[in-house]
Amino acid sequence: MPPGVLLPPAIQQFFDSNGKPLDGGSIAWYLAGTSTPSPAYADSGLVTPLANPVPLSNPGGRAPAMWLDGALAYKEVLLDGAGSTIWTADNLTSGQSVPTVTVAASGNVFNVAVPTAPVVGVQFTNTAASTSVTGFVGGQPGQLLVLRAVPTAQVLLYPNNSNSAPGDMLANFVGTIATPLYGGAAIYQRGAAGQGWNLISHEQGAPVAWTPTYTLGGATPVGMTYGTQLGHYVLRGRQVFLGLRLTLSAKGTSTGTLQLAGLPVNDVAPGSESGLIAHYAGGWVGLGTGGITGYVSGLVVQLVVWTSTGIVPMGDGNLTAGSDLIATVQTLAA
């Protein structure tokens, strides 16, 4: 059963100071706080505007059904038959609007103030650089916050960050990296008093760049240079999908096992659920025909080749100055 609500004042009758029906009276409608007329309507579809002021019945002082735009705030003025004001009520809203806050600033915005309402929209319109947010100030328990980043806007939503009070912090699906909106959207809900905002839904939008690198023997390879060094990732819930291309222009002089490093997020279960698939590999040696795969260990991927007996770790001996790799990695973020 949906919730019950008190009968709306659909039938309204007005009286003068002596308690007699306000025969010949009228009601004038304006935008809140202004003298700009803004009509009431004869129908709930807001198709037919009523005369403004709206004449009351004579006799009876009854108003016709007056429908207002739920997105607007109004000033209502009751007039007597001579056009004199009996009373004025300002800032009347229906509670049917969804206020929207626009954030145009980039950089460390940290806390964004939001009004109190059942649903509030926050629109990010920054274009020059990424905007970092750690919390939303205001709101009420249970309030929904709909975040939207225009297609060019980059927003990073940092969880559990000390730049915000505990009651304003963000609880994201992933606690170790910022949840990005790159033209994407998200929905948060405020918890009970003293709690912050809980992530309900998230669409990242465009992929976020990261910089893949190789290590040899666990260290940055001496003299290794890259012709192409590109990576992008997308966060969905706690899953992270990464793509990369690394093309060497010089392999350098270091030795040791070969790892892929620079992953933007730590794997929650190293080696057990996360791996690398190579889609293209050129300019390698000593691989046989098994091809390159890998498994994730923390913030690195151990690259391996398949042989007839199982996997063998790759190393500097597999590299050439033209080694080229296109691969994807899927991890479960800590």
Binding site: M1, V5, A10, Q13, F15, S44, G70, E203, I326, T328
Partner: protein, 344 residues
């Protein structure tokens, strides 16, 4: 805390002379009908009131024991109210009365393209698609800033949501995550849009496509496929945010006479790869009835902007991949490829 005007829990009604409408009555009907739709005595809506509700000597709704009676309505319904005097004379009728808590539902049963679906003004509106055929929606006129639009598909026929359709008013248009092709809903698919401020249209907030959607992959040799025929030609795609995930199977019955590297074309959505070949390569999960392959099959995407966009088929040799051409294919070559790529 949110603010609101104090409600009027117990109304009082008067006649045209200003005297309390003693013995008057209020009838509640379904909006636009003559069907009784009861009022209730309290918020739980457990006790329907007698119809019509009778007034006491002061013109107030009253219980049978003469106590003032609160009047509650079902927030999900729309009503028509009729105010009458004690002798039954009708004094006033007000139709289509709803509460601020109602979530209006618009049902779409028509097909075609492009469609415009008007929606009422309310904080949240639901649109249900039940049409018996495909539909392309170009816009939703009538919304208000901040309004949420919850779309639900209850049909197996696809509903395409067009991105920034040029033939639609700016304030009614849709901004999707994917821009190069429509965003689709198929039962049980859902989407949530929010209307922007004045002068803006609807922005996609969340989208779950529902069922997989078919697409038609094309096997070519160097871009041509003269005489090539299929036993199986199947593609499925699922759009999630800005990512397309899916698979294809192409099983030949004749490879024809075209020559060159195997290039698979016909892809749904343009992929973004800034610059070429960096993001999320396709994965060859199955390959059968090839001949003379020097290694296992792999594949890679064409660079962004290559038209038509396509994937290349390679054989992994341990050093440099070898292009898989017509020479490695037979009349029964069979290929399954899985893919996931960010879309434009």
């Amino acid at each position: 805390m949110p603010s609101l005007l104090a409600p009027l829990p117990i109304p009082q009604y008067f006649d045209t002379a200003g005297k309390p409408l003693a013995g008057g009555q209020l009838t509640a009907l379904g909006a636009g009908t003559t069907t009784p739709s009861p009022l209730y005595a309290g918020a739980p809506l457990q006790v329907p009131l007698e119809d019509p509700v009778m007034f006491d000597a002061a013109g107030r709704p009253a219980t049978v024991t003469g106590q003032p009676q609160e009047l509650w309505i079902d927030s999900a319904l729309a009503y028509k109210f009729q105010l009458a005097a004690a002798d039954g004379t009708l004094l006033q009728t007000v139709d289509n009365v709803t509460s601020a808590f109602a979530v209006p539902v618009v049902t779409v049963t028509t097909t075609g393209s492009p469609a415009s679906v008007p929606v009422p003004k309310a904080p949240i509106v639901t649109v249900e698609f039940t049409q018996a055929g495909t539909l392309q929606v170009a816009g939703f006129p009538g919304g208000q800033p901040g309004q949420l639009l919850l779309l639900r598909s209850r049909t197996g026929f696809a509903t395409g949501l067009l991105h920034l359709d040029a033939g639609t008013a700016v304030t009614d248009r849709l901004t999707n995550f994917a821009t190069s092709a429509p965003t689709y809903l198929v039962s049980p698919g859902v989407a949530l849009y929010q209307h922007g401020s004045a002068g803006q249209g609807w922005s996609l907030i969340s989208h779950t496509q529902g069922a997989l959607l078919p697409w038609t992959p094309t096997w070519t040799f160097g871009g041509a496929s003269v005489g090539l025929t299929y036993n199986t030609r199947d593609g499925q795609v699922l759009l999630q945010g800005q990512y397309a995930t899916g698979s294809l199977r192409l099983q030949l019955t004749a490879k024809g006479t075209s020559t060159g590297q195997v290039l698979i074309q016909g892809w749904p959505y343009l992929w973004q790869q800034p610059p070429a070949q960096t993001v999320h390569g396709p994965y060859v999960g199955y390959g059968l009835n090839f001949t003379g392959l020097p290694g296992r099959l792999t594949s890679s995407y064409s660079a962004q902007g290559v038209s038509p966009q396509q994937i290349y088929l390679w054989a992994f040799t341990g050093t440099t991949p070898v292009a898989v051409s017509d020479a490695f294919c037979t009349n029964t070559s069979d290929l399954i490829v899985q893919f996931r790529y960010p879309v434009v």
